[in-house]
Protein backbone atom coordinates (compact mmCIF):
# COMPACT_ATOMS: atom_id res chain seq x y z
CA UNK A 1 0.00 0.00 0.00
CA UNK A 2 2.85 2.32 0.87
CA UNK A 3 4.28 1.94 -2.65
CA UNK A 4 1.02 3.16 -4.15
CA UNK A 5 0.18 5.96 -1.74
CA UNK A 6 3.70 7.25 -1.21
CA UNK A 7 5.35 6.46 -4.55
CA UNK A 8 9.15 6.28 -4.42
CA UNK A 9 8.91 7.65 -0.89
CA UNK A 10 8.30 11.10 -2.35
CA UNK A 11 7.06 12.31 1.04
CA UNK A 12 8.33 11.98 4.58
CA UNK A 13 4.76 11.26 5.58
CA UNK A 14 1.45 10.84 3.74
CA UNK A 15 -1.77 11.55 5.62
CA UNK A 16 -4.76 9.60 4.37
CA UNK A 17 -8.24 10.62 5.40
CA UNK A 18 -10.78 7.83 5.48
CA UNK A 19 -14.42 8.01 6.52
CA UNK A 20 -15.99 5.03 8.22
CA UNK A 21 -18.88 3.93 10.38
CA UNK A 22 -16.97 4.34 13.65
CA UNK A 23 -18.13 7.29 15.68
CA UNK A 24 -14.72 8.43 16.80
CA UNK A 25 -11.52 9.79 15.31
CA UNK A 26 -8.50 7.50 15.21
CA UNK A 27 -4.96 7.58 13.80
CA UNK A 28 -2.90 4.58 12.70
CA UNK A 29 0.59 4.53 11.28
CA UNK A 30 1.73 2.16 8.51
CA UNK A 31 5.35 3.04 7.71
CA UNK A 32 5.25 6.50 6.18
CA UNK A 33 1.45 6.41 5.92
CA UNK A 34 -0.71 7.95 8.62
CA UNK A 35 -4.33 6.88 8.35
CA UNK A 36 -6.83 9.30 9.91
CA UNK A 37 -10.18 7.66 10.39
CA UNK A 38 -12.98 10.17 10.56
CA UNK A 39 -16.61 9.40 11.48
CA UNK A 40 -18.85 9.25 8.43
CA UNK A 41 -21.18 12.21 8.11
CA UNK A 42 -24.90 11.85 8.56
CA UNK A 43 -26.98 10.91 5.52
CA UNK A 44 -28.77 14.28 5.76
CA UNK A 45 -25.51 16.14 5.17
CA UNK A 46 -24.34 13.73 2.49
CA UNK A 47 -27.41 14.59 0.42
CA UNK A 48 -26.04 18.10 -0.05
CA UNK A 49 -22.67 17.93 -1.82
CA UNK A 50 -21.72 21.50 -1.02
CA UNK A 51 -22.41 21.14 2.68
CA UNK A 52 -20.63 17.81 3.01
CA UNK A 53 -17.63 19.14 1.06
CA UNK A 54 -17.35 22.11 3.39
CA UNK A 55 -17.33 19.76 6.37
CA UNK A 56 -14.65 17.55 4.80
CA UNK A 57 -12.62 20.61 3.82
CA UNK A 58 -12.63 21.69 7.46
CA UNK A 59 -11.18 18.30 8.44
CA UNK A 60 -8.47 18.70 5.77
CA UNK A 61 -7.70 22.25 6.93
CA UNK A 62 -7.23 21.06 10.51
CA UNK A 63 -4.81 18.35 9.39
CA UNK A 64 -2.86 20.73 7.15
CA UNK A 65 -2.37 23.14 10.06
CA UNK A 66 -1.59 20.43 12.59
CA UNK A 67 0.96 18.50 10.53
CA UNK A 68 2.32 21.18 8.19
CA UNK A 69 1.08 19.38 5.07
CA UNK A 70 2.62 20.80 1.88
CA UNK A 71 0.33 19.34 -0.82
CA UNK A 72 -3.29 18.22 -0.91
CA UNK A 73 -4.02 15.42 -3.36
CA UNK A 74 -7.36 14.06 -4.46
CA UNK A 75 -6.31 10.82 -6.06
CA UNK A 76 -9.26 8.45 -5.70
CA UNK A 77 -13.01 8.61 -5.71
CA UNK A 78 -15.47 11.07 -7.10
CA UNK A 79 -14.45 14.58 -8.09
CA UNK A 80 -17.23 16.18 -6.02
CA UNK A 81 -16.77 14.10 -2.88
CA UNK A 82 -12.98 14.44 -2.79
CA UNK A 83 -11.94 17.10 -5.30
CA UNK A 84 -14.07 19.91 -3.93
CA UNK A 85 -12.86 19.64 -0.30
CA UNK A 86 -9.30 19.29 -1.61
CA UNK A 87 -9.30 22.57 -3.56
CA UNK A 88 -11.25 24.41 -0.85
CA UNK A 89 -8.92 23.39 1.96
CA UNK A 90 -5.84 24.06 -0.19
CA UNK A 91 -7.06 27.58 -0.92
CA UNK A 92 -7.88 28.25 2.74
CA UNK A 93 -4.42 27.07 3.77
CA UNK A 94 -2.48 28.60 0.87
CA UNK A 95 -0.96 25.31 -0.31
CA UNK A 96 -1.06 23.67 -3.77
CA UNK A 97 -3.64 21.05 -4.71
CA UNK A 98 -3.62 18.21 -7.22
CA UNK A 99 -6.91 16.85 -8.48
CA UNK A 100 -7.31 13.59 -10.41
CA UNK A 101 -9.91 13.31 -13.15
CA UNK A 102 -10.88 9.73 -13.84
CA UNK A 103 -14.24 9.92 -15.54
CA UNK A 104 -16.36 11.98 -17.89
CA UNK A 105 -18.31 13.59 -15.08
CA UNK A 106 -20.76 15.43 -17.34
CA UNK A 107 -22.05 12.09 -18.52
CA UNK A 108 -21.83 10.57 -15.07
CA UNK A 109 -23.91 13.37 -13.53
CA UNK A 110 -26.57 12.94 -16.16
CA UNK A 111 -26.85 9.16 -15.87
CA UNK A 112 -26.24 8.20 -12.25
CA UNK A 113 -29.35 8.26 -10.10
CA UNK A 114 -27.88 10.01 -7.05
CA UNK A 115 -26.76 12.99 -9.16
CA UNK A 116 -29.83 13.38 -11.34
CA UNK A 117 -31.57 16.12 -9.34
CA UNK A 118 -28.47 18.27 -9.11
CA UNK A 119 -26.92 18.04 -12.58
CA UNK A 120 -26.56 21.79 -13.09
CA UNK A 121 -25.11 22.44 -9.63
CA UNK A 122 -22.72 19.51 -10.00
CA UNK A 123 -21.47 20.82 -13.34
CA UNK A 124 -20.81 24.23 -11.78
CA UNK A 125 -18.96 22.65 -8.85
CA UNK A 126 -16.91 20.51 -11.20
CA UNK A 127 -15.91 23.59 -13.18
CA UNK A 128 -15.02 25.38 -9.92
CA UNK A 129 -12.75 22.49 -8.94
CA UNK A 130 -10.81 22.57 -12.23
CA UNK A 131 -10.42 26.36 -12.09
CA UNK A 132 -9.14 26.28 -8.54
CA UNK A 133 -6.88 23.24 -8.54
CA UNK A 134 -3.18 24.03 -8.83
CA UNK A 135 -2.75 21.10 -11.19
CA UNK A 136 -4.94 18.40 -12.70
CA UNK A 137 -4.01 14.82 -13.41
CA UNK A 138 -5.91 12.98 -16.10
CA UNK A 139 -5.82 9.18 -16.14
CA UNK A 140 -6.67 8.99 -19.82
CA UNK A 141 -5.69 11.09 -22.89
CA UNK A 142 -9.35 11.51 -23.81
CA UNK A 143 -10.00 13.16 -20.45
CA UNK A 144 -7.31 15.76 -21.18
CA UNK A 145 -9.55 17.11 -23.97
CA UNK A 146 -12.52 16.94 -21.62
CA UNK A 147 -10.71 19.07 -19.02
CA UNK A 148 -9.55 21.52 -21.69
CA UNK A 149 -13.19 22.03 -22.65
CA UNK A 150 -13.58 23.62 -19.21
CA UNK A 151 -11.12 26.32 -20.26
CA UNK A 152 -8.14 24.82 -18.43
CA UNK A 153 -4.73 25.41 -20.00
CA UNK A 154 -2.89 22.32 -21.21
CA UNK A 155 0.11 23.25 -19.08
CA UNK A 156 -2.06 22.71 -15.99
CA UNK A 157 -2.98 19.17 -17.00
CA UNK A 158 -0.82 16.05 -16.88
CA UNK A 159 -1.78 12.73 -18.40
CA UNK A 160 -0.62 9.96 -16.14
CA UNK A 161 -2.52 6.65 -16.04
CA UNK A 162 -3.13 4.68 -12.90
CA UNK A 163 -0.35 2.34 -11.95
CA UNK A 164 -1.10 -1.30 -11.44
CA UNK A 165 0.79 -3.00 -8.69
CA UNK A 166 1.24 -6.28 -10.47
CA UNK A 167 3.00 -7.80 -7.50
CA UNK A 168 -0.38 -7.99 -5.76
CA UNK A 169 -1.61 -10.25 -8.55
CA UNK A 170 -0.53 -13.86 -8.72
CA UNK A 171 0.79 -15.14 -12.00
CA UNK A 172 -2.20 -16.01 -14.16
CA UNK A 173 -2.77 -19.76 -14.36
CA UNK A 174 -3.06 -19.68 -18.13
CA UNK A 175 0.48 -18.37 -18.61
Amino acid sequence: MERILNPKNAFRCVHIVSFNEAHHFSIRRYGTLLLHTVPRMSKKILRFPLLSSLRVAQVFKKLVKQYGVSLLIDSYGNILDNGLPTVLAARWCGIPSLVTVQNDYHQLFSTKRIYLGYTKLNNILEHFIYRNATHIRSVSPALVSYIKEHGIKESNISYLPRAFDLSTFTQPDSF
Partner: protein
Protein backbone atom coordinates in the same frame (compact mmCIF):
# COMPACT_ATOMS: atom_id res chain seq x y z
CA UNK B 1 -18.81 -24.48 -22.18
CA UNK B 2 -17.79 -20.85 -22.82
CA UNK B 3 -17.93 -18.25 -20.07
CA UNK B 4 -18.26 -14.55 -20.83
CA UNK B 5 -17.34 -12.31 -17.90
CA UNK B 6 -18.53 -8.85 -16.97
CA UNK B 7 -16.84 -6.94 -14.15
CA UNK B 8 -18.55 -3.62 -13.64
CA UNK B 9 -20.64 -1.53 -11.28
CA UNK B 10 -24.29 -2.06 -12.05
CA UNK B 11 -24.99 1.48 -13.16
CA UNK B 12 -26.33 2.99 -16.41
CA UNK B 13 -22.78 4.04 -17.40
CA UNK B 14 -21.81 0.37 -17.77
CA UNK B 15 -24.57 -0.38 -20.26
CA UNK B 16 -25.36 -3.76 -18.72
CA UNK B 17 -28.97 -3.89 -19.89
CA UNK B 18 -27.76 -3.94 -23.48
CA UNK B 19 -25.19 -6.53 -22.51
CA UNK B 20 -27.95 -8.79 -21.16
CA UNK B 21 -29.99 -8.34 -24.33
CA UNK B 22 -26.92 -9.08 -26.44
CA UNK B 23 -26.17 -12.15 -24.34
CA UNK B 24 -29.75 -13.38 -24.79
CA UNK B 25 -29.34 -13.06 -28.57
CA UNK B 26 -25.91 -14.68 -28.60
CA UNK B 27 -27.04 -17.57 -26.43
CA UNK B 28 -29.69 -18.48 -29.01
CA UNK B 29 -26.80 -19.39 -31.31
CA UNK B 30 -24.44 -20.79 -28.68
CA UNK B 31 -26.27 -23.04 -26.22
CA UNK B 32 -23.10 -23.54 -24.15
CA UNK B 33 -22.52 -19.82 -23.54
CA UNK B 34 -22.71 -18.59 -19.94
CA UNK B 35 -22.33 -15.12 -18.44
CA UNK B 36 -20.80 -14.25 -15.09
CA UNK B 37 -21.64 -10.78 -13.88
CA UNK B 38 -19.45 -9.42 -11.10
CA UNK B 39 -20.48 -6.19 -9.43
CA UNK B 40 -23.25 -4.48 -7.56
CA UNK B 41 -25.01 -1.16 -7.80
CA UNK B 42 -28.18 0.74 -8.40
CA UNK B 43 -29.34 -1.46 -11.30
CA UNK B 44 -28.82 -4.80 -9.57
CA UNK B 45 -32.50 -5.66 -9.13
CA UNK B 46 -33.44 -4.41 -12.60
CA UNK B 47 -30.77 -6.61 -14.16
CA UNK B 48 -31.91 -9.68 -12.23
CA UNK B 49 -35.46 -9.04 -13.42
CA UNK B 50 -34.36 -8.43 -17.00
CA UNK B 51 -32.45 -11.72 -17.07
CA UNK B 52 -35.67 -13.48 -16.04
CA UNK B 53 -37.71 -11.61 -18.64
CA UNK B 54 -35.20 -12.58 -21.31
CA UNK B 55 -35.29 -16.20 -20.15
CA UNK B 56 -31.55 -16.42 -19.59
CA UNK B 57 -31.47 -16.37 -15.79
CA UNK B 58 -30.20 -19.96 -15.62
CA UNK B 59 -27.23 -19.09 -17.79
CA UNK B 60 -26.20 -16.01 -15.82
CA UNK B 61 -24.40 -16.10 -12.52
CA UNK B 62 -24.49 -12.87 -10.52
CA UNK B 63 -21.70 -12.17 -8.02
CA UNK B 64 -22.51 -9.04 -6.06
CA UNK B 65 -19.20 -8.37 -4.47
CA UNK B 66 -16.24 -10.70 -4.40
CA UNK B 67 -12.78 -10.30 -2.87
CA UNK B 68 -9.70 -9.83 -5.07
CA UNK B 69 -8.55 -13.47 -4.81
CA UNK B 70 -11.94 -14.73 -5.99
CA UNK B 71 -12.00 -12.14 -8.75
CA UNK B 72 -8.70 -13.64 -9.86
CA UNK B 73 -10.42 -17.01 -10.13
CA UNK B 74 -13.19 -15.43 -12.19
CA UNK B 75 -10.61 -14.02 -14.62
CA UNK B 76 -8.82 -17.35 -14.78
CA UNK B 77 -11.93 -19.44 -15.35
CA UNK B 78 -13.68 -17.31 -17.92
CA UNK B 79 -12.99 -17.10 -21.65
CA UNK B 80 -13.41 -13.41 -22.41
CA UNK B 81 -14.48 -10.11 -20.84
CA UNK B 82 -17.38 -8.08 -22.18
CA UNK B 83 -17.16 -4.38 -21.37
CA UNK B 84 -19.76 -2.32 -23.25
CA UNK B 85 -19.64 0.93 -21.20
CA UNK B 86 -21.08 4.10 -22.74
CA UNK B 87 -18.30 6.28 -21.33
CA UNK B 88 -15.17 5.59 -19.30
CA UNK B 89 -12.13 7.16 -17.73
CA UNK B 90 -9.62 4.42 -17.19
CA UNK B 91 -11.38 1.04 -16.91
CA UNK B 92 -9.55 -1.02 -14.33
CA UNK B 93 -11.46 -4.21 -15.13
CA UNK B 94 -10.18 -4.11 -18.73
CA UNK B 95 -6.58 -3.77 -17.56
CA UNK B 96 -6.99 -6.62 -15.08
CA UNK B 97 -8.62 -8.86 -17.68
CA UNK B 98 -5.87 -8.17 -20.22
CA UNK B 99 -3.25 -8.93 -17.60
CA UNK B 100 -4.91 -12.30 -17.07
CA UNK B 101 -4.83 -12.96 -20.79
CA UNK B 102 -8.53 -12.53 -21.35
CA UNK B 103 -9.57 -11.14 -24.72
CA UNK B 104 -11.84 -8.14 -24.26
CA UNK B 105 -14.99 -7.23 -26.15
CA UNK B 106 -14.80 -3.50 -25.46
CA UNK B 107 -16.81 -0.46 -26.41
CA UNK B 108 -15.19 1.74 -29.04
CA UNK B 109 -15.05 4.72 -26.69
CA UNK B 110 -12.17 6.81 -25.30
CA UNK B 111 -10.63 5.08 -22.32
CA UNK B 112 -11.20 1.60 -23.76
CA UNK B 113 -9.67 2.47 -27.14
CA UNK B 114 -6.36 3.13 -25.41
CA UNK B 115 -6.32 -0.43 -24.08
CA UNK B 116 -8.09 -2.62 -26.60
CA UNK B 117 -6.87 -2.91 -30.18
CA UNK B 118 -9.39 -4.48 -32.49
CA UNK B 119 -8.15 -7.89 -33.61
CA UNK B 120 -5.00 -7.71 -31.49
CA UNK B 121 -6.11 -8.19 -27.89
CA UNK B 122 -9.86 -7.96 -28.28
CA UNK B 123 -12.78 -6.85 -30.39
CA UNK B 124 -14.24 -3.35 -30.43
CA UNK B 125 -17.98 -2.86 -30.66
CA UNK B 126 -20.48 -0.02 -30.83
CA UNK B 127 -21.89 -0.09 -27.27
CA UNK B 128 -25.30 1.11 -28.46
CA UNK B 129 -25.68 -1.72 -30.97
CA UNK B 130 -26.95 -4.88 -29.26
CA UNK B 131 -26.40 -6.90 -32.43
CA UNK B 132 -22.79 -5.76 -32.61
CA UNK B 133 -22.11 -6.91 -29.04
CA UNK B 134 -23.98 -10.19 -29.61
CA UNK B 135 -22.08 -10.88 -32.85
CA UNK B 136 -18.71 -10.39 -31.14
CA UNK B 137 -19.75 -12.70 -28.31
CA UNK B 138 -20.74 -15.39 -30.79
CA UNK B 139 -17.52 -14.86 -32.72
CA UNK B 140 -15.32 -15.32 -29.68
CA UNK B 141 -17.40 -18.21 -28.37
CA UNK B 142 -17.11 -20.26 -31.54
CA UNK B 143 -13.64 -19.29 -32.75
CA UNK B 144 -11.24 -20.82 -30.24
CA UNK B 145 -8.26 -20.05 -32.48
CA UNK B 146 -9.06 -16.33 -32.47
CA UNK B 147 -9.60 -16.41 -28.71
CA UNK B 148 -6.20 -18.01 -28.21
CA UNK B 149 -4.52 -15.49 -30.48
CA UNK B 150 -6.09 -12.47 -28.73
CA UNK B 151 -5.34 -14.05 -25.39
CA UNK B 152 -1.63 -14.36 -26.20
CA UNK B 153 -1.43 -10.65 -27.04
CA UNK B 154 -3.58 -9.48 -24.15
CA UNK B 155 -0.99 -9.02 -21.37
CA UNK B 156 1.53 -7.12 -23.55
CA UNK B 157 0.00 -3.67 -23.21
CA UNK B 158 -0.40 -3.94 -19.43
CA UNK B 159 3.17 -5.07 -18.87
CA UNK B 160 4.47 -2.39 -21.24
CA UNK B 161 2.47 0.64 -20.12
CA UNK B 162 0.96 0.28 -16.68
CA UNK B 163 3.64 -1.34 -14.57
CA UNK B 164 3.70 0.21 -11.14
CA UNK B 165 7.39 1.13 -10.93
CA UNK B 166 7.52 3.35 -14.01
CA UNK B 167 4.35 5.24 -13.17
CA UNK B 168 5.14 5.63 -9.48
CA UNK B 169 8.36 7.38 -10.44
CA UNK B 170 6.40 9.83 -12.57
CA UNK B 171 3.83 10.33 -9.82
CA UNK B 172 6.60 11.26 -7.40
CA UNK B 173 7.99 13.69 -9.95
CA UNK B 174 4.56 15.21 -10.56
CA UNK B 175 3.94 15.74 -6.83
CA UNK B 176 7.33 17.39 -6.41
CA UNK B 177 6.75 19.70 -9.36
CA UNK B 178 3.35 20.81 -8.04
CA UNK B 179 4.82 21.58 -4.62
CA UNK B 180 7.72 23.52 -6.05
CA UNK B 181 5.49 25.33 -8.54
CA UNK B 182 7.65 24.23 -11.44
CA UNK B 183 6.34 23.94 -14.92
CA UNK B 184 5.16 20.34 -15.14
CA UNK B 185 6.80 18.35 -17.88
CA UNK B 186 5.28 14.94 -17.28
CA UNK B 187 3.29 15.25 -20.52
CA UNK B 188 6.33 16.06 -22.58
CA UNK B 189 9.10 13.73 -21.69
CA UNK B 190 7.86 11.18 -19.28
CA UNK B 191 4.71 9.36 -20.19
CA UNK B 192 3.67 8.42 -23.66
Amino acid sequence: MTIALSVAKMSPQKNLKRLLRAFAKASLHIPQLYLWMVGSGEQEKELHLLSIQLGVEKRIQFFSSIPQNELRCAYNLSDFLVFPSIFEGFPRAVVEALYYGLPVIGANIPGVLELVQNGFNGLLVDPKQIDDIAFSMVRLAIDKQLRMQLSRNAPCIVRKRFMGDAIWGLEAKLYQSVIEGHKIDVNKDSYK
